[in-house]
Structure formats: C-alpha cells, structure tokens
C-alpha cells in the first residue's frame, strides 16, 4: 500500500520544528506502524537524508517505550501500543499525521522522540514498596483476597508509556499516577507506605508541571493497558485521606 505521511521533524529542543511530507510506497499491509517507519527511514538513508527519530524497544507492546500521536490520537487507531498497530488498520492512499507526544513535562528530544523521565521521577518519588515483607515463601502466608489481587493486577498493567498525558487536553498524568497508587495500595504489602506514597507521588506530579484531571476520559480511551479512569477517583480519595491523616 502507498501512504502520504506528514511527519513532525525537529532537530532538537532549541530549533523550531515543522511537518514534512513523505511518500511511503509499497508498504506491506502486515507491517507494524514502526516497521513502516523503518522502511521510510531506509529509503531516507539510501538517499543520504537524516532518518526520522522515534522511540521503541520491545516492539511487543509490553515496555511502554514506543509513542507517537497518529492522526491526533496517541498510539493511533489501535487498542494497544503503536508497535502493535498494523498498517491494515489504514486505507491505501491515506494521509497520516505523525506527531510526538505533546506534553510540556515531556521535552522533545528530536523529531518524534520525547523525554519521558518525568514519569520515572514520579515513580521514584514513591511508586515502590520498601517495607520488608520477607522472603519468597512469606508471600504465600500473606493472604490476598481475589478481588483485591484482581484490582491490583488491573492497575499494574500500566506500562508507563505516557499516552494518557499525551491524549489529555490538560496534559494530566493522573491516570498513570492513579494506576500506580491503586496497584500498590490494593495489596497488603503496600499498606505501610500507602499514605506517604500518594502524598509524595502527587507532589512530584505537580512539580513536574502536568495538568489536572477534568474528566475528559481521553486517557482511558487511548490507554494501551486499558487502565480504567476509576483509578483517578481512587487517587483523589487516597490523597485527600492521606493529607488529612498526616496533618490531624
């Protein structure tokens, strides 16, 4: 199939960027979106041009490294990640806009690659359990109700890709933070630090300059891990209770 691409090109964070037209020719339908970009890049390289920079790693939908906003939707028209989006989802001859994730807290590095370390810093602020919970066999003696483990597992599916912030009209990271807080706060091992965790993560989230949730629900619609927006309700509840408990 043949496609008209409009790709965001920008040398670095200092220079101005713009959309550049490319023709992608003879692309097999069973190519993934990233493989299509690989083919375009090979073509660019063979002509001595700079290839398009974009992020990727596992290419199997589990690492959260791929990004791209495709025709205005982070991860494009797929239910999963960009690396799991296949060209058969597009019509032959279609025009495809490819832009980076546009979030102030994710500074652009080059072309389509942005720096998502802000998520790492939020995670480092409290997205972990440091309470000692014993060795492997002790896990079996800590009883976790099935509903709680399901709840935690659902939230734990977050791969930290940043699509939620990229899709949110307010560039809010609350689906991501809500997923982490829900995941760790639903398990007994997460309880000792439950309050500290949510306070520290929200503080960091605010410092990094993300927006606030206005319940557009766009995050939930694009999330490749299908994190439900109810985790934001849990985040709000945990945060308010923790702040009260910490101060009264």
């Amino acid at each position: 199939m043949n496609l008209h691409l409009k790709v965001w090109r920008q040398k670095n964070s200092e220079t101005k960027g713009h959309l550049v037209d490319y023709e992608a020719r003879n692309i097999p339908e069973d190519c993934s979106f990233l493989e299509m970009l690989d083919l375009v890049n090979e073509d660019l390289l063979s002509r001595g041009d700079e290839p398009i920079a974009f992020d990727h790693d596992c290419r199997e939908g589990i690492c959260g490294m791929c990004s791209l906003t495709i025709n205005g939707i982070p991860h494009g028209p797929s239910e999963t990640t960009t690396c799991q989006l296949y060209m058969r989802k597009f019509k032959d001859g279609a025009t495809i806009y490819i832009e980076p994730f546009r979030v102030g807290a994710f500074p652009l590095l080059r072309d389509l690659a942005v720096n998502r370390s802000a998520f790492d810093r939020i995670q480092q602020a409290g997205g972990f359990i440091s309470a000692r919970v014993g060795a492997a066999q002790d896990a079996n003696s800590i009883l976790v109700p099935k509903t709680d483990s399901d709840h935690a597992m659902e939230a734990a599916a977050c791969i930290g890709c940043g699509a939620c912030a990229a899709a949110c009209p307010n560039a809010s990271a609350m689906l991501f933070v809500g997923a982490k807080v829900t995941h760790l706060g639903s398990l007994p091992q997460g309880q000792p630090e439950r309050e500290r965790r949510v306070l520290a993560m929200v503080k960091k989230m605010d410092e990094e300059g993300f927006g606030n949730c206005s319940n557009y629900l766009e995050c939930e619609a694009v999330c490749p891990a299908e994190i439900p927006v109810t985790v934001i309700g849990q985040l709000n509840r945990d945060y308010s209770l923790a702040l009260l408990k910490d101060n009264l």
């Binding site: 500290r196 206005s214 109810t230």
Partner: protein, 277 residues
C-alpha cells in the same frame, strides 16, 4: 525478661545499620522505632491545620476539591431557587408571600447571599487557576487533535461557566436590583396585592419579551450543560466513584440537569404561551 518493645527497637536498629540507605536515612515502615531521619520529607513536616489548608490549596487535587465543594453549594442554591421559582405556578399570592418571607428575614438572607458570593468567587478563582495551569501543561498544541470520547459538556466547561456568570450578572440587574426595566418601578402600586412588591406581575411583565425569554432559556440551557458534566465530576473529585457508580453517575448528572433545565425554562415558556398572565 527482656522488654519486647526494647527488643524490637534493638532489632530495628540492627536492621537499620545493615540495610542503611546510602544517605543514612531510614526507609523503614515503622519510623517510631528508629532514630534515623525518615526518607520521606512529608512525614516530618510540622503539623498544623493552617498548613493543611495551604497544602491542600497548593496541590492540584486540593484545588479540584475547592471547585467541587463550591460547585456543590452552588448546585444546592440552583435547586432551592428553582423550587422557590416554581411557586409561580401556584399563583401570585403564593410566590409573593414567598418573596415577602425571604425579605422579612433579611439577616439569614444576607448570610446566605454572602455565602453564595464566596462560593462563586472561590469556584471561579479555582477553576480559572486550573484552566491556566492546564493550558501551561501543553505549551505546543497538536497540528491535528482528535477527541475519542470527551463530551461537548466537558470541553465547554469554562465557556459555559463564563456565559452563566454573565447571565447571572444580567439576571441580578434585571430581577433583583430591577434597573434594566423601568416598568418594574410601578409594579408595587399596580400589583394585585398592594402591600407587598408584586413579584408575580414583574416576572410576567419581564418574560413577556420573547427575546429576553429566549436569552434566559439559552442561558439556563448552558447552566444545565455545565451541570451535566459537573455533577458526575464531583463524584470523581471526591473519590466516591467506583466501578459500579461510574456507570450510573453520568446518567444521574444528565437527568438532574435536564430536570433543572426543564424547571427553569418552564417559567418563561409558560409566560410566552399565556399560561401565566
């Protein structure tokens, strides 16, 4: 025998030494057993309720709480005001007596008015601060942006809110301060009950103008749009939402706002159609 509390303390001190964080801070979950400073600065900040309010306001979630609390108070007023207004349908005597009752208790009335003004100011300051932060969070816009499931009501909150604000200013000048329509000056004498101000007559006179009635209906429609998103948002902001309630909340919000719209719009419509005269 060894004091168990003492033993635990000693054990913890051993652990702390063994697993000490490079910064020599303790990340242990029972800080009261440990003399090392806690890893997390939040735990060690001084506690006072002023601090709590300040912290709440300075956090994004705290501002959302203020929006939701003031929004709920305003919603309470909107419902109460509607119930009061619907007495138009019970006849002139009834609504005039209601107005008379309100004005006879002017101390509580002013307390309520001041509270409402505070809620308005708080709501607007908090929402506009949030809107500004949210704009700043995306300095560079997408060339193509597409909404997958965001509703119109959600996308127009600031617009519907500001339109409602300008409507409320007009509404106060119109029916509360009565400066926009010279005919209202004579209503007191010409009314059916000459001892009290004839609110009924005033409203019928006011809504006799189709243009003005249309403006009221459109404005109340925008208020309903604002509330259809607002009501379900409050649940989310307070964290009252669960998987199950997430399914009925948006419907409840829509239903309540439709009722509010129908209630308010019924009065100018009834005047225009000649049911109230």
């Amino acid at each position: 025998m060894l004091d168990p509390q003492h033993a635990r303390k000693a054990f913890h001190a051993e652990l702390c030494k063994k697993f000490a964080h490079p910064s020599n801070q303790c990340s242990h979950s029972i800080p009261r057993f440990c003399s090392a400073p806690s890893l997390n600065p939040i735990l060690t900040t001084p506690k006072s309720s002023v601090n709590l309010l300040l912290k709440f306001w300075s956090s994004s979630i705290g501002k959302k709480w203020l929006v939701a609390l003031t929004g709920l108070a305003l919603l309470g007023f909107v419902v109460a005001h509607l119930v009061g207004n619907l007495q138009m349908f019970a006849g002139a005597a009834k609504i005039n007596a209601y107005a008379e009752f309100l004005h006879a208790n002017d101390k509580p009335l002013w307390v309520a008015r001041l509270g409402l003004i505070l809620c308005f100011v708080g709501h607007i300051v908090a929402t506009l601060t949030l809107v500004k932060m949210n704009r700043a969070a995306r300095p560079k816009a997408y060339a193509i942006s597409r909404n997958v499931q965001a509703k119109i009501s959600t996308r127009t909150m600031a617009l519907s809110g500001l339109t409602v604000l300008s409507f409320i200013v007009f509404h106060l000048l119109h029916y509360t301060l009565r400066v926009t329509d010279p005919r209202f000056k004579t209503v007191a004498e010409g009314g059916q009950l000459d001892t009290v101000f004839d609110v009924y007559r005033m409203v019928v006179l006011g809504f006799g103008n189709p243009l003005l009635s249309g403006f009221y209906i459109v404005s109340v429609g925008l208020l309903a749009l604002h509330l259809s998103h607002g009501i379900s948002s409050v649940f989310q902001t307070f964290g009252l939402e669960s998987k199950r309630s997430a399914q009925w909340m948006p419907t409840a919000g829509k239903l309540l706002s439709v009722v509010i719209f129908a209630g308010y719009a019924s009065i100018p419509t009834a005047v225009l159609l000649g049911f109230l005269k």
